[in-house]
Symmetry: C2
Subunit: 385 residues, 2 copies
């Protein structure tokens, strides 16, 4: 196990009815900016719950955060914060709204060109404090300090991570997820599952607890993910999925270990060039990487096969690995995500552009061993077709 | 799953050499009070590492915190804080030193009789900030906000818990545990194991992740606990045990579920009346409670048998339960803790006093169903002889 520093001060209010906690979780004298996305919170009742809880607060609103939040949009919210002397921000939505809010609150206190926060990882000296009401379990952004922002004019999608943008609190009410489209629910399960796999499926690093916790999240997502398709109004199923998605990326399971993230890096390009959902790209790429790197990942693949899928321990190593890959693929398919590019009626004609873009973005040594070159990524794409 | 609020802001510096982090983890202008116990930190080199890291700080020392820390001793440290205008406290030691420090830092800011913090759960309005250097993995106090203090003059042992006494940081260097006596190491493993069992072995509560994490900690303690007996200088074994003991009681696995704690309550009396080690009392009482409550705990006992001990799923329920109890008992024995009172050459003549003391302390409805009466506790003691 490697040395690590773990810190996660976000307060979680979990459960039905917890949105009412907003009335005291934000001090009454704060000028609040409420940030949300395309307006789904107005259909599902969350907006009304939030406004009721904040009836005694002074609230300004900013809506229109896009999926894959846009830099230019964020800057408009920054202006609003400055003009209105906002001192607390409330993000209501999924990962995109929360990611955008993290950048907005940092940019609002930043001296200089805010783009440097993303492009140059300029140090952040302060941020407007913010909380979240999560409505879509998937990204884990509600309990970590990371954010990904797109700037379409420059064809860039960049990330930053900083302690100052941990949410002060996040409210997770599983009932807010009842009205989500089934596809978004299933995608969230796949996204969280792959987050765990990227931190877990590497090589043995003598971090037993991190492994056990990762396996526990994977098993939970498999069991509850299958249930949510047939029992969408089962509260406990929704609760288990919501808490699992948060713990999948609150950094607890990656402490002291090397991580992979190649699936996400290649997957991002499939979204950029083919417009596929994030979860679809992960469902496509992960099984191919498992196959392509099955020698270096063998020990962990076997552990995963035995502990997560209860594969018979007496089988030979190669068989266990193949079963593990097939089971993973079958799970993604069951969650509504075909695991081959061809299944989406797409051609291979963008592969060269994708590889060139990986090179342009410096993503030429991916994976836990930094040994996945652009040539390897091309082979992974071809295997994924 | 029940609603919950989870908050744990303690920063963890984990790994070899992390004591050097003290030099910047505590601001240079702070007047520091260093609190420790009987002086073992002077033999094992930890004291020297701490003093070296704090070479540029103004440090006052207070030593002599006892196992089961004493109220009167804590008050002396409170005086020292007030006299020396201390503004940061550093606890160096195990659970007793950290528990004492939590009470000391709260009492130092308390208006009125500090005993009320324990006896009346008086609200705490502030506390001197403090950090920890952990030297004995066992209690989890380094990453929670709970504390147990004894006042021998009144024959009382009382607990308090408050957000204001979370450590600001805790440093966990597995190498500091190499020189611990084997008995303390094994006791720490048993203590952490039973902490998990008290939160886990109740009844199914549809909290899948809390169950999986609990099982992960148990499996880790079993595997690594057995290894540490034969490989005391294996760094990763020490690291896994240290992190497991912290996560066993940092409250993550008890979110949203009812817990038991009957073993600890009865066990405390065995320490008070027979002078047994805390871990010895847990090793004695837990198997008896598993047996005595095997009907109400059956579903969880079977899950525990299958997932933690890999008991054959095709066996009948009663057999699985019996194997689970026997395996638990055997594990405690292997960790050097006999699981019967008679094995410690003690008689049954204190049982009546123990039951009377449980009654005096209002501990008349123990367990997750609050259905363990003093009469049940007596039967549990008799089964444990």
């Amino acid at each position: 196990m490697e040395n690590f520093i773990y810190y996660n001060p976000t307060r979680i209010y979990f459960g039905q009815g917890q949105i009412t906690q907003l009335s005291h979780a934000i001090a009454k004298d704060q000028k609040v900016l409420l940030i949300y996305g395309g307006g789904s919170i107005k259909q599902n009742g969350v907006y009304d719950q939030v406004k009721t809880a904040l009836a005694d607060h002074q609230v300004t609103e900013f809506s229109g955060i896009e999926p894959n939040p846009e830099y230019e949009t964020c800057l408009k919210a920054v202006e609003l914060i400055k003009q209105n002397k906002i001192n607390f921000v409330l993000a209501v939505g999924g990962g995109s709204v929360i990611d955008a809010t993290k950048f907005i609150v940092a940019a609002a206190k930043f001296k200089g060109d805010a783009w440097d926060i993303l492009a140059k990882h300029a140090d952040i000296t302060g941020a407007v404090p913010f909380g979240c009401v999560l409505t879509l379990p998937a990204t884990g952004s509600e309990m970590n300090s990371g954010s990904v922002i797109s700037r379409r004019a420059l064809n860039k999608k960049l990330a930053f991570m900083h302690e100052k943008v941990f949410p002060v609190f996040s409210i997770l009410d599983p009932e807010t997820t009842y009205t989500l489209p089934a596809r978004q629910v299933a995608n969230g399960v796949v996204d969280a599952f792959v987050h765990v796999m990227e931190q877990y499926l590497t090589y043995p690093q003598n971090a037993q607890l991190q492994d056990r916790f990762a396996e526990g999240i994977l098993s939970t997502l498999i069991e509850e993910g299958e249930k949510v398709l047939t029992h969408p109004h089962d509260y406990d199923v929704r609760a288990n999925i919501m808490w699992a998605a948060t713990l999948a990326l609150n950094t607890l399971i990656s402490q002291g270990v090397k991580t992979d993230w190649a699936t996400h890096m290649i997957g991002h390009e499939l979204t950029a060039f083919y417009g596929l959902d994030h979860a679809q790209t992960l469902a496509i790429i992960l099984p191919s990487i498992m196959e392509y790197k099955k020698d270096k990942k063998q020990a962990k693949l076997i552990q995963y096969a035995e502990r997560v899928w209860q594969v018979d321990k007496t089988l030979d190593a190669e068989t266990k690995v193949q079963i593990a890959i097939e089971k993973t693929r079958a799970f993604f398919e069951k969650m509504g995500n075909p695991t081959k590019i061809s299944a989406y009626q797409l051609s291979q004609d963008k592969f060269d552009d994708i590889i060139n873009n990986l090179k342009d973005n410096g993503l030429t040594a991916l994976g836990e061993h930094a040994d996945i070159t652009p040539e390897d990524s091309l082979k992974i794409l071809q295997m994924s077709y």
